[in-house]
Symmetry: D2
Amino acid sequence: MSRMSVRNWISSIADRGRELLDLPLSAPQDPFMRLATLCHDLVSQKGEARGTALAREVVRGWEDLAESEHLRFFNIMQNEFSADRIAVIEAAEAYKADPTESNLATLTQASEPARQELLRRINMAPGGTRAIVDMRNSLLNALKENRHLEPLNADMQHLLTSWFNRGFLELRHIDWETSASILEKLIRYEAVHEIQGWDDLRRRLADDRKCFAFFHPAMPDDPLIFVEVALVHGLADSVQALLAPEIDETAQSRANTAIFYSISNCQTGLRGISFGNFLIKQVVEELKREFPKLEQFATLSPIPGFMGWLRTRQKSDTDDAKQAAEILKAMEDDSWVNDAARAEALKKNAMQLCARYLAHAKRGKAPMDPTARFHLGNGARLERLNWMGDISTKGLRQSGGIMVNYAYHLNDIERNHESLVNDGKIALSRAVSQLAGNQG
Amino acid sequence: MSRMSVRNWISSIADRGRELLDLPLSAPQDPFMRLATLCHDLVSQKGEARGTALAREVVRGWEDLAESEHLRFFNIMQNEFSADRIAVIEAAEAYKADPTESNLATLTQASEPARQELLRRINMAPGGTRAIVDMRNSLLNALKENRHLEPLNADMQHLLTSWFNRGFLELRHIDWETSASILEKLIRYEAVHEIQGWDDLRRRLADDRKCFAFFHPAMPDDPLIFVEVALVHGLADSVQALLAPEIDETAQSRANTAIFYSISNCQTGLRGISFGNFLIKQVVEELKREFPKLEQFATLSPIPGFMGWLRTRQKSDTDDAKQAAEILKAMEDDSWVNDAARAEALKKNAMQLCARYLAHAKRGKAPMDPTARFHLGNGARLERLNWMGDISTKGLRQSGGIMVNYAYHLNDIERNHESLVNDGKIALSRAVSQLAGNQG
Amino acid sequence: MSRMSVRNWISSIADRGRELLDLPLSAPQDPFMRLATLCHDLVSQKGEARGTALAREVVRGWEDLAESEHLRFFNIMQNEFSADRIAVIEAAEAYKADPTESNLATLTQASEPARQELLRRINMAPGGTRAIVDMRNSLLNALKENRHLEPLNADMQHLLTSWFNRGFLELRHIDWETSASILEKLIRYEAVHEIQGWDDLRRRLADDRKCFAFFHPAMPDDPLIFVEVALVHGLADSVQALLAPEIDETAQSRANTAIFYSISNCQTGLRGISFGNFLIKQVVEELKREFPKLEQFATLSPIPGFMGWLRTRQKSDTDDAKQAAEILKAMEDDSWVNDAARAEALKKNAMQLCARYLAHAKRGKAPMDPTARFHLGNGARLERLNWMGDISTKGLRQSGGIMVNYAYHLNDIERNHESLVNDGKIALSRAVSQLAGNQG
Amino acid sequence: MSRMSVRNWISSIADRGRELLDLPLSAPQDPFMRLATLCHDLVSQKGEARGTALAREVVRGWEDLAESEHLRFFNIMQNEFSADRIAVIEAAEAYKADPTESNLATLTQASEPARQELLRRINMAPGGTRAIVDMRNSLLNALKENRHLEPLNADMQHLLTSWFNRGFLELRHIDWETSASILEKLIRYEAVHEIQGWDDLRRRLADDRKCFAFFHPAMPDDPLIFVEVALVHGLADSVQALLAPEIDETAQSRANTAIFYSISNCQTGLRGISFGNFLIKQVVEELKREFPKLEQFATLSPIPGFMGWLRTRQKSDTDDAKQAAEILKAMEDDSWVNDAARAEALKKNAMQLCARYLAHAKRGKAPMDPTARFHLGNGARLERLNWMGDISTKGLRQSGGIMVNYAYHLNDIERNHESLVNDGKIALSRAVSQLAGNQG
């Protein structure tokens, strides 16, 4: 079945769709049926003839659709915009009999569901990309209770991955000269250390701080992901110090270290499409170029899974169980933070177990902690643990107040990544290695 | 087979590829083997770890590859970056047994050849999109004698179609304020009426002329397609008049008609991905907004297949044969152009046959003439034939000196397009219809 | 004395200056003496040779100068950078004897104080314009107790007027896409109705509000003046309604009136250089073009001098005295605002006297009220008084809670302006005219 | 007389002007009288009221004025827009009696002719600056036979100098990405080595060439001055080599020297306002920053006065007379250029006299040669003479085929400039000094 015949078939389902929908069309006031019809038209010849006009109407139809109708719409997208079963099976038989590249190509085309073409055509409209990202956002919500929509999700993710290819993204430096429209999105999307308002934001955009974001040309005012960086002297060990409102005027000139202290995804509709690793690596290169004095690039990161792991651990029959229980008891409320003696008493045990958690707790070959998984998976090295590095309520609840530095040495990234993926080996500094001990 | 397992498999072929290639690696000076190895690395874990760096090396490797090695490289892309045959067949069997959307999704993914992922990863590099467009350009050349590469071509076209989606394109007004770097590309790419140099270009960018082009954000200095428009009073009937160096200062203010007199694709590597219909329709809307006095939007187009058709026709046993022979004889050399009497004598016959050719000569349901096919397929109407509308050598050789106006009435576009596609019915003005007669 | 000889003379005073200053130069650590010397150098040959480098040092010297030294510096600018007395007198004698244009030119040049050239040369530095505006700002403060510096002020104002010529200013539309750096300046500079923070600002930049500012190319991030406009239906009568946080989504589409509800100068250093009249007129034109449905352009303005005038009036022996006293007594505290009956009782008297104040109270031929002076001087017409138009504390203290609309009819502007300037005749609507009565 | 009274007086002359002009107004079709009236209105109250609208009409009036009427218009500007004689004389008397700064300020203001205010107000219009530059251009032509217009010229130059202050200019890098509209102006304005067309221009904008220009914000598409630079290895000695179409791909990377081979003023209306010295110095700084390997910055310049000086010299009774006569005879036609022996025979004498001309021929303290005067006045050093450095016809006619390098060492610029201005001492390299001999 050639591409042409795929097209013809798309037109034919569109026509079938129209017939099915003809009745409801007598009630043109129903925005849902109108949208479904427009989608069928869009993948038909009408779509070819009327160009972007029809796509625009679909986008508007989607925007006007009540949220309560989204699920119904997703079911239509999945069920009415599938592939031609007969054509798929014929192509598969042909390939099985003679697995040539040519037969494979026929099968590849035949097995592509019509909803991919539908999405590509929606994307022709101004605002189409934005609409599809929004659709996926809604679909991800719906998925929780409607696992059967996974194929539609796979198609959306497939297309979005292709469209939000690294090569199409634009890295922009964000500062106080950036538009308020974009800056307010930073305030809204900051996921790690909440931005308290415009004054807090302004401090994070002062001369000794840097912020970078990726943008896609089809959504020029919507950051996809952004990272906040502090230029400091030596590895930072406390996020509260970094976020303090005072600006050390001399800091930038003395800085030899760039600390990535927050990285936030902005578009839930793009979940599963990874930008973070590209962003960090490109920002390292940008900063190196602009500030040749920088010698070290590292994060100051939470350990979001640590306290949860401790709770599991205390119930286990490992050697750690008693230690874990003691720590959890001591941290039951947050008062220890203001009691130097109690804090000091806790430190050794807590740091040790945290190091063990990061160095040894795994999900498959990958680290169990999600932040560790991200940075170590990118090829970073677990450099240092910082006691009382984040004494905010959130920091205490999740990470026992500890923060960790992951260091990015561009030269080691590939080796670290491969060791992890192939052998499950985590790159550790000597200090962390010692703290984690040798047992598992 | 989940997307994850596809990835693993990609890594495994990459590793296999490496083994196969290990020997030649002992000769690291061979740029071809180096490029092949880099491609295998790129789709493997290394590609994930090293992000855009590896993609950049592949792009450079491609750029440095001798043209004589291109074919060899395309063969590797097609043969070493296919799909996992076993996985494809298993997925196909599962779908055949139970044609659920979920099984379809597995099959869709399994049957996607690894070269698609390879291309997506090459695209991560700065300049990656440009490199892939260049690859396709070279592949299209190679295809002529290597039809077996059609599957690779299908994959490239599939991805490029998705990436050069209308929604990602930017329409730009081109004028004398545009950079010389872009303007010189217009001179180079103009395909219909050659631009004679900077003075000629400047005239085509004067106040009573407009030029618009589509650009893609990943190739911001490379127009994809551009259209040249003349603002005139009444339908233009001669391209020589339009291209004359004199500027009628009052023309713009009196203009009620926009004549699209040239539309040129710039990137042969994007052949088969259609921009022209979107461009014309959007330019019509732009012009309407900017010049509310415009009432009519039409082309002034060649009839590139007319003289060739006449030559076939004279050998046919149709009623036209004699007429065709007479015309061909009279036009044997170009001297008739300067002889009013001979020109007048020719006119009636030539116009009549030309109208018949345009109105009745078909390839399937579509018009035989390629320019007619494009504009009528877009939903335009065949409005008028213009005797001696293009008396350049090229105009005489191809079109017998005749030019035609295709009119774009936005309201009729959809109906015209559907009548053509469904019923093979060509939209004609009354005048052309009469000229073409009623017989076939 | 030719321009060349003026230059030579400047050099000679620079050299004299240097001699005078040579002693203190032995203490190069004194930033004040260093700045004075740099200024002398700048108007000398050194200034010509070293181009902008020296100007840059003067700018830096000024920026580093303690505020307590400003007055001393201004005295030096005035006294050491004057004109050549002998040359002036000679040129004046020559002109008196023979008042040719040529002799006038010599006198014009001779009588220009060297500080004008000094300022022009400071202006060559990057940031020079900004520095001079800051200087003038400081000078205006100093002037209050140092009237003798008026000549220096006249020179600064003369140059700044020439440099901030309307033709060099750029009108920019300010909205939520504008940089935070500029927006925070709006918050800081708003002089009429204080902006309460970013949320308030955002509301003022919503779709049914417009904001425009003038910028100078040498200070691209510093607005000079800005105006805030509300698009509404019918003349607005209450500023509290305009500033309310709720947005009427349909307002913009229904709007037939543009209300200028706030206009703020941003640079005190540019006092006396008028931008406001240009700004309002150009914004009227911009809005007309963008929103052809707008029929009416008017302000909603305070009457800042009204309550003060009432206090004078109650002590006068005019017929108004008793009325004024009653109003003042009733408005002694602000509780009447919340008491409909008392407010109603006050209304007639207060509105009448306010109308009389605006229509008849004069300073020379000009209206006594400063806001009235500005708008009526621009050619606007006093259109309507609005009872309880501004019930903020400030509104009550200054304007008795009343606000007024000045209407801008572009066609009447010239006539209104001339009637006012020549005959002291204020343009009034019929309603205001009746309210103000016929007596004076 | 306060600034206010100046204004009143301006209004009064405007009114007088109107009376005088009232008669011709009965012939409103006379564009000249209309323009004169508009000018009077513009400096009157009408100008204040109608803002930029009136200024716009004056600009249009000027643009429409026949060239043959320019002189008449300049006479009106000079005669009808003077100062108030009585007020000037009173102010002068007051100053003479009591030369305070305050009395000086009054005199400064009184003696400023009304035409300065007229020009400032014309400048309020869009395109006003451009119009005034054009006026000055025309005035400079008229001046040749109308020396009495010098005062008007002085006023224009005075204002333009203030407006085209270095601080307001923008340096832009010109390359192939620049708009065709600006590039064609480079072709038109190149004054030193004619640009032969777009291909020649493109070569001058290749990677091993740089071009920079100053722009003023009020004339954003019109370069004021531009300089062309070649990046080469070692001091360039031949302009034909620099202009050759071949590009040495490796040149930029090996370059240690920036050669300024052409500098052209674009706006004759700005004659006498110097940009060149600022431009060269800023470009030196730009290039240093971008290409840290550059060690040397020098020109490759013609000696436009050399051959003329030789002709004078041969008639003098100096020791050079005979030598000069011989050179002139040998260079009578250009054939020697192609005859190595004759060229060699000429070389010693010609180089020696040329060195003497540059090192010793003076006009006052300044070098006689205009190009030498410019560069040496800027503080450059006469570095080297290059035999047969420019063998174009123009090069042979003016400079005897010799070219010279002036070197810019930023550190020596001030000292060189001062030595020249104070002592008439020209900075020479040792080699040139020897060549020039010790006698005068």
